[in-house]
């Protein structure tokens, strides 16, 4: 019965690595899904206020972000502690908002421009003076749809 005696005896068979790609892909997909792309590094403190009558901001490509608040500690030496506006990756002046809006608009497809929303991510401790300056600039740039980004929570409890 030599037919059944072909196996070489003694050496260990190699462990199958056929499933290794699967594992790697799994990890890859997991990280692809779970990571949130961070567009901007925050230069300002961003402790958002709380509210519960909120609407979701879907369609991230149609949102322009404006950050405002006190500079974070490492920048306080250079920029001081008064609230500042951050556009993209740098501190900006109120007068630069209009240009920023026009630039953002130019980078988007023409048919989606009317649906663009400006999301204001403003630190809860900032004063309304700064926010109304921002709003005036947005009105001048005709960017009228805005959203005050908030955390979920009870607004009344937070304030009393």
């Amino acid at each position: 019965m030599s037919k059944f005696n072909k196996k070489k005896k003694g050496d260990l068979p190699a462990i199958s690595t056929a499933s290794l790609p699967d594992i790697v892909f799994m990890l890859l997909f997991f990280f692809m899904v779970a990571t949130v792309m961070r567009q901007n590094t925050k230069l300002v403190k961003n402790n958002l206020p709380t509210a519960n009558q909120v609407e979701k901001l879907d369609k991230k490509d149609l949102v322009m972000y404006i950050y405002a608040g006190e500079p974070v500690e490492q920048y306080q030496a250079t920029y001081g502690t008064s609230a500042k506006i951050q556009l993209n990756d740098k501190f900006a002046d109120v007068s630069e908002i209009q240009d920023f809006i026009y630039q953002e608009r130019a980078s988007k497809r023409e048919e989606v421009v009317p649906f663009l929303t400006t999301a204001l991510k403003v630190d809860g401790e900032s004063k309304m003076g700064l926010i109304s300056d921002i709003k005036q600039e947005l009105r001048k740039a005709n960017a009228l749809k805005i959203n005050y980004v908030t955390k979920k929570g009870n607004a009344v409890e937070q304030n009393n």
């Binding site: 892909f25 401790e125 304030n159």
Partner: protein, 201 residues
């Protein structure tokens, strides 16, 4: 005895396990979405625009927030927690031909929810946190009244109808049906919130 070769481990099901895990994580992880209070700014004022119509004093609900974050509602000091109820009472007063209002029909409050305007004035020194809280309470007042009407008419709250309408998973046919309903409720209690430019000092 002859030395036996170790049997090869069957790796065929490994891929299945991997996919199982992958699908599990796909389903359970949620990508963070921002949420907040949506507002629409008034357009830039035109120089030769006709002057705005005169609004009766009784149809105006003035909320003033000063630089110490204190509230002055209709010339009276008020706590934030009472603001929602006060706004609801004002909007729902319905002194003149409002069949769906359940308010007190007081002489000095609004005539009709479609005419009632809430005016919010804040100071440059008001904190953003407080401003958002006030906005939140006023939106809540509108939502409360709209929910009531929607519940009465369609057995579903306005907020959940709106959520379904904005949900991409809702079918087109459902959306078609929801749209006129939402508009109808919005017409009953239109959101008329005016913001004055903040005062200095």
């Amino acid at each position: 005895m002859a030395k036996r070769a170790a049997p090869e481990v069957n790796a065929g099901s490994m891929a299945d396990i991997a996919f199982l895990l992958l699908i599990f994580f796909l389903v359970t992880t949620t990508i963070e979405t921002d949420s907040g209070i949506s507002r629409k700014l008034p357009p830039e004022l035109d120089e030769n625009q006709p002057p705005p119509p005169v609004i009766k004093e009784r149809n105006l609900f003035t909320v003033i927030v000063n630089s110490n974050d204190e509230l002055l509602v209709e010339d009276e000091v008020m706590q934030l927690k009472d603001l929602r109820a006060a706004a609801v009472a004002f909007l729902d007063n319905g002194a003149e031909d409002c069949s769906y209002c359940q308010g007190a029909k007081a002489e000095n409050s609004s005539t009709n929810p479609t005419k009632a305007i809430i005016s919010l004035v804040n100071n440059r020194g008001t904190s953003y946190k407080r401003y958002i809280a006030v906005q939140n309470e006023l939106v809540a007042a509108y939502n409360q009244l709209r929910d009531r009407e929607a519940q009465k008419k369609y057995g579903e709250s306005f907020v959940s109808m709106e959520q379904r309408y904005n949900d991409p998973r809702t079918s087109e046919r459902d959306k078609e049906r929801l749209k006129p309903r939402l508009e109808e409720i919005r017409e009953l209690y239109p959101e008329k919130l005016s913001e004055a430019e903040p005062k200095k000092s």
